[in-house]
């Protein structure tokens, strides 16, 4: 009996010991590698945040689904992001020199910045606002990207085969611009002047009388030659407009093909003068209740120009305001004052205007506009004789969505998304027939707070004939408390939003710490067919063809002709040939360098110390650098892109003898 008890006791003791030991082992395992729930708890994440993280995480080595081209604001560049990760993939040098890409340092890119030497000086910055991907049948085709420089009234052309800038054109008759949009098949890129200025470009004293009479706005239609990949200024034209601040525009498509809708503000023609006790421009410019939506028949304007109407002003054909009015090219419709966004619905049937100071979005019907023009349903004319269509004859609907509506994008389900600057929110609302019918139409359905002061917003192909839905990015102007402080110049805040469900969901924040971007455009990554290396060794990035000055192994040489020393050089891992160049002080030195590599990512830089030279030579690329050797000395040159194990050894000397 006792033995039985002892045995039972021993068994219980052993079980207890096992239990304790097991618990300890279990505990040890938990602390060395916490399970998923433990990790989520330790980081204090909510289930929604975990879902958002999983939804946007792109594992190492995997690719994003979409590309987003965002304006680089005051940096003068274009930023390229991958979605949904929101990782910055590229910066493209456009209006500012960009030393990594050697942009503005080679002869080829210096010419772009100097606008093919037509500019008096190379401007070294730009204010990029509105990227526009080239379109075919009103859908992004991923071939070219255009972007405006608001500060200097310029438009740049970027070739998406090599993601580099090919051309900059400067508006010969405008100081500033706003908006770059393309026609449904990229025949034209439209640029509206932002601030009215003396026309033509000259000094006219700023008095109210002069302003009204001699200052003008312009709609500039740059003709794009797709085969050449360049804007052709000779076939471009402008339409003279009253001195209002012409703003964002959109090209019609399908039923509205051939027409352009363009916003304006300051139809009051305020010119400021605060020190003279006159109202500030901002007060004067928002005195009236309405501004004018410009309705432009650009196909007719192009026909008039082609038939000889219009005069050449500073090298570009201009259709006068009188001719535009007389021939039915230009009409106005009242719009809520100080509007900002002006966006055409996917089928080209509705025009959505966000009046910054009005809680409604105002939706115009293209059909009604056409009928009103036909019926001459005018409520008056402006001081320049432009007919103003009666508001109630052209408006389809107004939807009350919140305070400070700006820009609108669309999805594939008949919904519109409008940024609300004052509310710091995105409003989701429904379009009317044929998108949604009956009680479902023209209704606010959801609102999502964003952080903070949203400007533009971009949905996947959200301004084309075929929106993609799925994601939307809010481009917020203020980040206030969203990031740890890095000084008083705060990063901008991009927020990725899931729009695939009934309710919008905030997924992630991305700080932009280099400038203030404006608009962005998003397209599926496979729509862009870009090169990993230049297809032919010696490709000149301007002509995209092998350059006659490209050279190869064994053909490198130095040739002196009078005071010019020309060098044909190759670059490959890990040497430049030749690696010694001897010139006399005062010589003009021209280096033609070919990267003869074929391996992807075998990039070489080429910098000459103290001579302000740095090139980026991607595999197969040819570039030229030209300078006057005005300082004597022995200047090392070297490869600035870590190319190989012997990268530091990839160097040489430029000897400049006094």
């Amino acid at each position: 009996m006792r033995i039985r008890w002892i045995a039972a006791g021993a068994v219980v003791l052993m079980l207890l010991l096992l239990a304790v030991a097991g618990g300890r082992f279990g505990g040890a395992a938990a602390t060395s590698a916490p399970d998923l729930e433990g990790l989520i708890k330790a980081r204090g994440l909510t289930p929604d945040q975990v879902r958002a993280a999983v939804q946007t995480f792109v594992p190492p080595g995997k690719y994003d689904e979409y590309l987003m081209f965002a304006s680089g604001g005051q940096s003068g560049q274009v930023l390229v992001f991958g979605l949904p990760s929101m990782r910055l993939l590229r910066v493209i040098g456009v209006f500012s020199p960009e030393s990594w890409q050697g942009y503005g340092f080679s002869k080829e890119t210096e010419e772009i910045l100097r606008e093919q030497a037509t500019a008096r000086e190379a401007l070294t910055w730009g204010d990029t606002h509105h990227p526009a991907i080239s379109e075919t049948n009103a859908e992004y085709d991923g071939q070219f990207l255009f972007i405006n420089d608001k500060a200097n009234a310029r438009i740049a052309v970027i070739d998406l085969r090599d993601f580099s800038t090919k051309q900059i054109v400067r508006n010969p008759n405008a100081y500033s611009n706003h908006g770059a949009v393309v026609s449904p098949n990229t025949e034209y890129i439209l640029e509206g002047t932002q601030y009215a200025a003396p026309f033509p470009f000259k000094h006219v004293p700023l008095t109210q009388e002069n302003y009204n009479k001699l200052y003008r706005g312009l709609a500039t239609f740059w003709k794009f030659d797709r085969a050449r990949g360049r804007i052709n200024p000779a076939q471009s034209f402008q339409i003279e407009l009253p001195p209002y601040a012409q703003d964002l525009a959109d090209f019609g498509r399908f039923e509205s093909d051939g027409w352009v809708y363009m916003n304006s503000f300051n139809t009051e023609r305020a010119i400021g003068g605060t020190l003279d006790k006159k109202p500030a421009l901002e007060t004067g410019a928002s005195a009236n209740d309405v501004d004018y939506l410009h309705i432009i028949n650009y196909k007719k304007a192009a026909e008039l120009i082609a038939s000889g109407k219009g005069t050449t002003v500073n090298g570009i054909k201009v259709l006068s305001l009188n001719d535009a009015v007389a021939s039915g090219v230009l009409y106005f419709a009242p719009e809520p004052k100080s509007p900002h966004g002006n966006d055409i619905a996917p089928r080209g049937d509705y025009i959505v205007v966000g009046g910054k100071l009005d809680p409604n979005v105002t939706i115009y019907s293209h059909k009604k506009v056409m009928a009103a023009i036909k019926d001459k349903a005018f409520s008056g004319t402006d001081p320049y004789g432009v007919p103003i269509l009666a508001f109630d004859k052209v408006v389809e609907a107004q939807v009350k969505i919140g305070l400070g509506p700006l820009h609108t994008q669309f999805d594939d389900q008949g919904n519109a998304y409008t940024s609300l600057f004052l509310d710091s929110a995105v409003a989701k609302w429904t379009l009317g027939a044929p998108y949604k019918r009956g009680a479902e139409a023209w209704k606010l359905v959801d609102k999502l707070p964003v952080q903070y002061n949203i400007g533009h917003l971009a949905a996947v192909m959200g301004d084309t004939a075929k929106p993609g839905g799925k994601y939307l990015v809010a481009l917020n102007k203020w980040s206030v408390d969203q990031y740890s402080n890095v000084g008083p110049l705060f990063p901008q805040n991009f927020q990725l939003i899931d729009i695939s469900g009934a309710k919008m969901k905030l997924l992630s924040n991305t700080p932009i710490g280099l400038a203030e971007p404006h608009l962005a455009q998003i397209l599926p990554i496979d729509k862009v067919k870009s090169w990993a290396t230049y297809p032919e060794v010696g490709t000149n990035p301007l002509t995209m063809k092998a350059d006659p000055n490209a050279t190869t192994i064994g053909k490198e040489r130095v040739v002196r002709k009078g005071k010019t020393v020309e060098v044909w050089m190759t670059a490959m891992r890990s040497h430049f040939t030749p690696d010694r160049i001897q010139v006399q002080q005062g010589d003009t030195v021209i280096l033609h360098i070919t990267n003869i590599e074929r391996a992807r990512d075998a990039i070489h830089g080429f910098a000459i110390d103290r001579y302000n030279v740095n090139l980026s030579l991607e595999p197969g690329k040819f570039e030229t650098v030209r300078f006057v050797a005005d300082r004597a000395g022995v200047f090392p040159f070297y490869c600035t892109e870590f190319c190989s194990a012997l990268h530091l050894e990839m160097a040489g000397y430029l000897e400049v003898a006094p």
Partner: protein, 196 residues
């Protein structure tokens, strides 16, 4: 004599026997081998995720051979394009002569026929020997002034090898296998020479 040959040729073409069919198939495969690589090598290193591939034909080197040559120059190895200049130049006439010999041999009687098929038996072995020779030569004539000095070495012709951070994998390829099949058929013909 000529009349005999003519009549044999005529009857062989009209009603080809096993020997003729085998020989013509063998000749066709040998000819076809000119269009395919004989040998392939793949180099693996962390910074080349898909590997670097080169394919050696009797007449040329294709694939990422220029990249391999750039890498080889660091250890002072000559560019791949410099290997076997004579062989590459005469590959087409030699192989075509072999094709003609193998195709014609079953029409010329056992003695001449065997003599004409014998070179085809030895051809693949010759290719291996030549490849090995050039590999050995390249691995043993490294430029002593190269940035990276390594001991002379014999690269692996079949299977895995290693040089610095690269591991290599080499294997015979389509062209070689076709010529080897030709050799096997020719060998069979040598031992079993018959008319039908």
């Amino acid at each position: 004599m000529i009349r005999t040959v003519q009549s044999e040729v005529r009857s062989a073409i009209r009603r080809p026997g096993g020997l003729q069919i085998r020989s013509w198939v063998a000749a066709a495969m040998l000819g076809l081998s000119l269009l395919l690589p004989y040998w392939r090598i793949t180099l693996f290193a962390p910074q080349y995720p898909g590997g670097l591939r080169a394919a050696v034909y009797l007449t040329k080197v294709s694939g990422e051979s220029s990249e391999i040559s750039i890498l080889n120059h660091y250890i002072g190895m000559k560019p791949l394009e410099d290997a076997a200049p004579l062989e590459r130049r005469f590959a087409v006439p030699i192989v075509l002569a072999g094709v003609l010999a193998v195709a014609a041999s079953p029409l010329l009687g056992p003695r001449a026929g065997r003599l004409l098929q014998a070179p085809a038996v030895l051809f693949p072995a010759g290719v291996i020997a030549d490849l090995a020779f050039w590999m050995w030569k390249f691995g043993h004539s490294l430029d002593p002034s190269a940035p990276i000095r390594i001991e002379p070495f014999m690269p692996a012709i079949i299977g895995r090898g290693a040089v610095m951070q690269f591991s290599t994998y080499a294997m015979f390829s389509g062209g070689f296998f076709l010529s080897a099949a030709t050799a096997l058929i020719a060998l069979h013909n040598l031992f079993h020479w018959s008319r039908r």
